[in-house]
């Protein structure tokens, strides 16, 4: 069975959804504003004869049709970073500011981390954690290439993340971009659909709940937590948010995002979720011609 079939009852246009999932994605790059302005990056690409189409919803995202993102001077200089368009969304939702304390709980390989650093103007404290030591080298490599200096890299299990090494208690904002079943990346890697199993979805949902709970606990009252996945499975999305709304002091923050999104689902396979999860965001490939994604923004109430 193609696991995408199970989501057809959720989407507005199942045929368009399936057709979009079958199309490959263009290469997309994000301008790294630590090293260059969007205007300078355009001038650089123009001078090299690299063709690009700016994404209409976010300044500094360029689609490079049929061009490898890493084979140009702009990339060599660290002005650009290859990053799937929709994966820019959680950083936009988190909206960190210069000087804040920010945690990226599942950070490797660092595309979102470096985006957060740029949003912070490379000032403040950005802790980038991952439990996988091997993937941390990619995180470090990416951050260093992009000239990030405000990142502190840690190797802990995010479910028990300890701030002890840093000597402060809480963060202003936490991004929890969890490991997931990755169905939404099928346009890049169709193998994810072959390897899909419900057992995996159910087992990883337990880990996701542990990660999101810890993220809320690590955030100061009034602070923001963004939870994201690249999957359509409600078990890994709304069910996780629902679980944490019940157990931790937080509420869903209804934020406007600059993409077309669908609201969160409140019923799935006989389960019902807290009505507030409607104010979370489902991104379907046929709505913006991107990968699939899920993004929830929480405010910690104390």
């Amino acid at each position: 069975m193609n696991p995408l079939e199970r989501y057809e009852p959720l989407v507005d246009d199942p045929a368009a959804f399936r057709a979009a999932c079958d199309r490959p994605l263009p290469s997309v790059v994000r301008v790294n504003t630590i090293k260059a302005t969007v205007e300078r990056a355009r001038q650089g690409l123009d001078s090299e004869g690299v063709e690009y189409d700016p994404a209409d919803w976010h300044e500094g995202l360029f689609r490079l049709d049929g061009h490898s993102p890493g084979r140009n001077w702009a990339y060599v200089h660290g002005w650009l970073h290859g990053q799937e368009e929709v994966s820019v969304l959680p950083g936009v939702a988190l909206a960190p500011e210069p000087g804040e304390r920010v945690l990226d709980l599942c950070a490797a390989p660092g595309s979102k981390t470096s985006q957060l650093a740029a949003a912070m103007d490379d000032r403040g404290t950005l802790v980038a954690n991952d439990n996988n030591l091997g993937r941390l080298s990619a995180l470090r490599h990416n951050c260093e290439r992009l000239g990030v200096t405000n990142v502190a890299v840690t190797n802990q299990d995010g479910r028990n993340f300890s701030v002890k090494p840093f000597g402060f208690e809480t963060f202003d904002r936490v991004l929890v971009d969890v490991p997931c079943s990755c169905e939404g990346t099928c346009r890049k890697n169709p193998d994810v659909l072959e390897e899909w199993s419900l057992d995996h979805v159910e087992s990883i949902a337990g880990i996701q709940k542990g990660l999101l709970r810890r993220a809320v606990q690590l955030t100061a009252p009034g602070g923001r937590v963004v939870y994201s996945t690249c999957t359509f499975a409600p078990e890994e999305n709304e069910a996780v948010v629902d679980h944490v709304l019940e157990l931790e002091p937080c509420r869903v923050e209804p934020v406007d995002l600059p993409l077309v999104t669908a609201e969160g689902v409140t019923e799935w396979k006989g389960e019902t979720y807290d009505e507030r999860v409607r104010d979370t965001h489902r991104v379907y490939p046929h709505h913006n011609d991107t990968g699939g994604f899920y993004c929830a923004t929480l405010e910690v109430t104390g």
Binding site: R123, L136, T149, V151, F166
Partner: protein, 179 residues
């Protein structure tokens, strides 16, 4: 850079953790450790990068002579995997900046900067050593080319005996079309 006598009870450099550099030689406790004052002076003397370029940054040592520049908060010492940008190698006769440091801070350099053009720049990026005329100092240079109308640092070159050696790390080397 070491002026204190080594003693049996002197603290030593612990390669497993980040230690913040002392401000000055008077505050140095670990023999051979660079000080913040020396790091600022080195960037200024060697490349004309003003100390103010690093106002936001603290400097840390982890590993023998590997210095990191960090703009966030952290207590010293701290045992974690990374802290900012690895940007300078000390504890050797000639201090050496990293490619990443030169790309990030080298735009403010005014001396020991060599500008390459066209194919020379692409060959440098590809890791090739080239015979080039240069009237300035020998040693580590910041290598730039004109990109989007301004000089932009590519990386670090080592100039010796009429030859500019590319020390662009393997993972950052690339074969591109000349501009």
């Amino acid at each position: 850079m070491t002026d204190e006598p080594e003693s049996a009870d002197a603290p030593t450099n612990d390669g497993q953790r980040f230690d913040r550099l002392p401000e000055t030689a008077e505050e140095r406790r670990v023999p051979g450790r660079a000080t913040r004052a020396e790091v600022l002076e080195w960037w200024d003397d060697r490349f004309g990068v003003p100390p103010s370029a690093f106002d936001e940054h603290s400097f840390w040592e982890k590993g023998a002579g590997k210095i990191w520049a960090y703009s966030g908060e952290a207590p010293s010492p701290i045992e974690i995997e990374g802290l900012g940008l690895a940007f300078l190698r000390t504890r050797q006769e000639h201090w050496k900046p990293t490619t990443n440091a030169v790309q990030r801070f080298g735009g403010e350099a005014s001396i020991n900067v060599i500008q390459l053009e066209g194919e020379t720049a692409t060959r440098f990026l590809a890791g090739e050593d080239q015979e080039i005329d240069w009237d300035g100092d020998w040693g580590y240079l910041i290598v730039t080319h004109e990109y989007a109308g301004e000089p932009e640092p590519i990386g670090v070159g080592l100039y010796l005996y009429g030859e500019l050696r590319s020390v662009v790390p393997k993972g950052r080397q690339e074969s591109l079309e000349p501009l």
